[in-house]
């Protein structure tokens, strides 16, 4: 029998209260691997634009678990049998789905931890934990989409998974971008299962449409906000430069485990060979990255210290966006101009310029269809309902970033 103090209620300004309903979840939440998510912000540097956006992957994971409980209740009440064991596994899988994320995920995956994806790292963590905790094996199968009752995987990672239903709402809440508020509760009430496939009851049509619309808002207003892209590009350049210096044997202040990854690039094979690598990774969070960058503001390498100061004092890159790709020649010329204006040596312009692509595809009826279910049981793919949807196109913007002190006009 669970000891009574393993049932807990956590205050959540988004959902009111989150109840931890069983011992297994409680014990995993207590584990240092999960507690580490307390120190990884869900939205990286987004708080530089929306100062409230400091919420963590820890909080989000709890929220997603909370919604999973509700979704399973709804599905059961509509007549689909779900065993105790399946229910627990689904809750564990969603609780742990972000375990492999490092700090500033996108920036680190582009630089320091570029050899292994966060999904692979989550898999590694789950595999390790499954020796210690029962129930995790089934969770791992669901997470890997290897469990035959496919709707469980859809609830964990799919068009209408509990991950999205929590983070879209949570990100809207903490940023204050109220237009992006998705109606997660209503959508969950509209979920159903037919032939082990996750579907939406037909009368949820408008809710799904609104969900797609709100999601698009969140993409362009928050996740791909131009200042957020500029901040991230700056962070990437800082990390690239630090990596470059470390590779050359330069002395560099960094917290110990973070330094291990700065100095050398690791592959999935390395992680499988040497378990201490995963343990090191498990000790890195926002604090390591940012306290190191803060120290680098005084580093003797003028490039590293300048870029670091830009970030710490929030003198972020400026950004220019275009709907057309930016040509290589243009970027080269641009870098030369930067070198000239800042008095840099040839080739050093690359550290002060960054380019990238921001794109979304809000709905893809071919590869990730959403099905609506009529009372009769007939399923229809969403876009065939004849209602206006965000168009199924990849919306793309190309951008180039550069120091704000430059005298450049577009």
């Amino acid at each position: 029998m669970p000891s009574p103090n393993k049932k807990k209620i956590i205050n959540d300004p988004v959902w009111g209260f989150i109840a931890i309903k069983n011992e297994e979840c409680f014990d995993l939440i207590e584990h240092p691997y999960f507690q580490r998510l307390r120190r990884i912000k869900q939205l990286g540097l987004t708080h530089l634009v929306y100062p409230g956006a400091l919420h963590t992957r820890f909080h989000h994971s709890l929220g997603a678990m909370h919604l999973m409980g509700q979704a399973l209740e709804v599905i059961k009440a509509k007549g689909t049998h779900i065993s105790e064991e399946e229910s627990l596994a689904a809750c564990l899988a969603i609780l742990l789905h972000d375990l492999g994320h490092g700090p500033f995920s996108h920036a680190l995956e582009t630089t320091i931890v570029s050899g292994v994806s966060h999904e692979e790292l989550t898999d590694l963590f789950l595999a390790e934990l499954s020796h210690e905790f029962k129930g995790l094996e089934l969770a791992l199968r669901m997470f890997r989409d290897e469990y035959p009752r496919q709707f469980f995987s859809s609830l964990i990672a799919g068009q209408l998974d509990m991950d999205r239903l929590d983070y879209l709402r949570r990100d809207s809440f903490f940023t204050g971008v109220s237009e992006g508020q998705v109606g997660s509760e209503r959508l969950i009430k509209m979920l159903n299962v037919q032939d082990d496939t996750l579907v939406v009851d037909e009368k949820g049509l408008l809710s799904v449409e609104h969900f797609l619309s709100a999601r698009r808002i969140m993409y362009w207003q928050v996740y791909l906000h131009k200042t957020v892209l500029a901040a991230e590009s700056l962070l990437i350049n800082i990390l690239r430069r630090a990596q470059y210096l470390a590779a050359q044997g330069a002395q560099l202040f960094a917290t110990p485990h973070f330094f291990r990854f700065l100095r050398k690039q690791y592959s999935l094979a390395d992680f499988l060979d040497d378990p201490t690598l995963l343990h090191s990774f498990a000790r890195i969070d926002d604090f390591d990255v940012f306290s190191s960058i803060k120290a680098w503001t005084e580093h003797e390498d003028r490039i590293l210290s300048s870029l670091s100061r830009y970030l710490v004092d929030r003198k972020l890159f400026r950004i220019y966006q275009s709907r057309q790709p930016i040509e290589k020649e243009f970027i080269d010329n641009f870098s030369h101009a930067v070198e000239h204006q800042l008095g840099l040596r040839p080739g050093e312009g690359q550290w002060f310029v960054a380019t990238g692509t921001a794109s979304t595809n809000i709905y893809d009826s071919k590869n990730a269809p959403i099905f609506l279910r009529e009372a009769s049981g007939r399923l229809t793919e969403l876009s065939l309902k004849g209602n206006p949807l965000p168009p199924e196109i990849v919306e793309t913007r190309y951008y180039i970033c550069y120091p704000r002190e430059l005298d450049i006009n577009f």
Copy 2:
């Protein structure tokens, strides 16, 4: 004329939008001293109990500035003249009122920066900035309560100041403790000025009562929550131990500026003598403290590493609270028992035990009265209105903290 991009609107989930209305505020917000507040959480370790409580002094300061603008509008509309210059100074003063706060304020002021109060540090910062920014001199006078029109100081630091009206609401919002939600907007609409004294229009009586009640809730439910006290006690012991080791010349990983304060205790005189001290202080934030503690989890000093692991992995101290003071003899015996159970050397128990006092006095009619103003202009002190208020007593609780692995019952 201000360049147009110096007027900005910032999303705030608490107040909707915060407008930066003038160039002076904009420029100060851009200053590294103010940007540093982005990295200092308003509520220190409270997020270990309320995971949403990650908001910063940066966000709070902007919110308080926002409310100041509203309060001045209300007061002007009721017939009190306020000059442009006064208005600007009041906004600057409230914007900068938290500038002297370090990370984990209470814990640091008890240990590493115990020689100088955060008010003194704010004063030092303001004095330095006033060389660079106009308008700050008047702000500084208001901040120091030296300006004759006393209500400005009351709006900055008083029973119903904009500081409280923002932080109480903001803390309630991010913790999710909705019972503590004060009606700041209504209270502000009830403010008035008579003979340069800040008063409340009589019909705001209930709002004031509710404010006091909600404030009391926030104290016991959030600020003095027992687990928060336990976490803070643990942090204090960690810092004390690190300071002790540093004083002995032990090697200790720490970010550079943080280490300067770990190694030596400074007084206000030191700060006045050596301006670089303030600059060092200005570089310390949550990241320095926490990334150092994370490194200490692997320190060879068993006491430091144990305590640090407790905090990082959230194996916080347990806490026992009492309405009676805890006797010295009891604490000594308790420490010995701890030493025994943990196999420590004599005298080492002190690092694993902490005691403290939590107390509030929600309203003090003698020293900090609130006056209600009848339409006739007559003022009455709040408690004389004959309505029930939180009693004017200092509510005190005494506590003792200890490792959770111990087998101790109270």
Copy 3:
């Protein structure tokens, strides 16, 4: 098996969604007696002060049913057995607890339906419905506090019943008086049952304190708001005058069933004798009262038409309040002055003057104690916990109302 369309979800801006979970509740909600509550505002004339306060007893009853479901879940999860039958009965009892309310309850009970209380009428309705619907007998026993497991009655009508937990929150929501927002969800999570008595878990202490404080706010800011009292006094005088005219045989426009009650006063015995009386009562709602008053604005009786116009055009009575009782002699003199100023005949002043008493007693430790339960099972009455509470006194205000066109100063 319930036909599927008998499970419904209703949008509620207060609680999000209210699910009707079983056929019995669904059928009762469909019944004309319950549908009638759609036309009875929860707060009578309060919308004349708070324009959003138009919500109905229908909406409130659904909300209270929703909370009952949650409370029973919490109590069961803490180990108290509750049978299906008990659970259904409790939900039905709270759903129907307001069935006997007429329109503008307080005003009508003082005038036209003064012979029978709304609790007696609810009882009559429940008794009649119990012939038709199963499960209602047990609900009726709980409603009458005749069921031995006493906590069910406490959940229906007690210090912390679902009635209060819904209406306080709902009234706060629709009036916009956010200070009165009680933390119903948290309080419900703190409920427990010991020896069939409803208690609160000890750690809910602050929540209970806050509940009492918020409730007090709602009393003085909303329920006993002086303009609300003035409006209600005016309504009472209108109804009294109409009753007086009807008794004299004057012609009077009124909807048919309303007229039956205007013309003659009925006792509980009358209701028991003649079942058509209850059926007539069941046809009266806000529409009858107010459309009749609107017609009376053009009635030939100058007193009735003047008072009716005051109400319809919102030229409400002015009100003077005192903490001391208002002496009979004063009232008489006052009425004479009114007669004089308005050019009325002797004795007619009574229709233009109204007096009354507003009083509250927020907590009464003797007659309606709240018990807190320690983990050990020990119960302590709230006021013995040593924390500040609203004082256990009957706060009383005496008031006198009069036409705003009068030239009277207090």
Copy 4:
């Protein structure tokens, strides 16, 4: 100088507080014509689906005035000059824009008051009031779109007028359909004026897109919700039947002024000839209509009483919807079937069947374009920005309603 009590603050759960900032608005709000809007629900019978939707045109008009004040502030701050007189007129015009609405607007305009539109009636009211109140003439010109500075009319009635920005948000709030929540505050901050035309600053693009999407949600989820359409169709049939009976001289309970309109159809010319007609119209509100229908539940005409009972007891029509027009022949056959099943006389089926069309056109770039303004001052019509919008098509649904007791399947 305005007497001080003419500045008032009204609690509004939607916008927090609404301040009445000048004497002119105050006096008009006090006028019986405006007070009458307290008794006209904004959304007619929608509360039969969303029980919270009881808010009135009174509350909405105050909210729209509140937003107008904010919009004018924003526009002025961006450099467009607006005189005191214009500002007042715009506030008055939006405050009074709904004055001509009768109860259950759509239903009445289709039946009893079908000769005159609510805009014409508003015009009549404004013209009458302008004799009494100064400032109204300019307001009337703005309302009629006769004022050369065209943006004032756009703020009163246009794609992004204060009417919509209030009602969409308010209706979302009171129904609880949170997906329809438009970001009115943000949109207002994005408004601008160029060459006296209302435009949106370019960076408000996403906000406008979201506005259109949320508006579409509100249409299909609330305004054209199928049960709302069914309820309204029922109401229309009731009123048509009552009109039919009244024309035949049948005795019919009705409140006096309402009866005047039941008995005879009036044209705009009649209103211009006989001012008492407008005065009669000004006395009709929800109470007249609904209390009459309640009395008709016992009328001897079996058709009228049946239909009335359907509405009062909420046994609403069923509704069948189609994307294709419903053919006349089908309707005729359908009516015959209804006559047969209900045992009606030939021709009486028409009273139990209703057909109609629901359609929306969320954005019309030709006839009602929205212009976005780049920093350079260049204007671009919204749909040319290349972003996905709700398609510019008239979405139409055709429906047929019939009694729920019938045995009919579609």
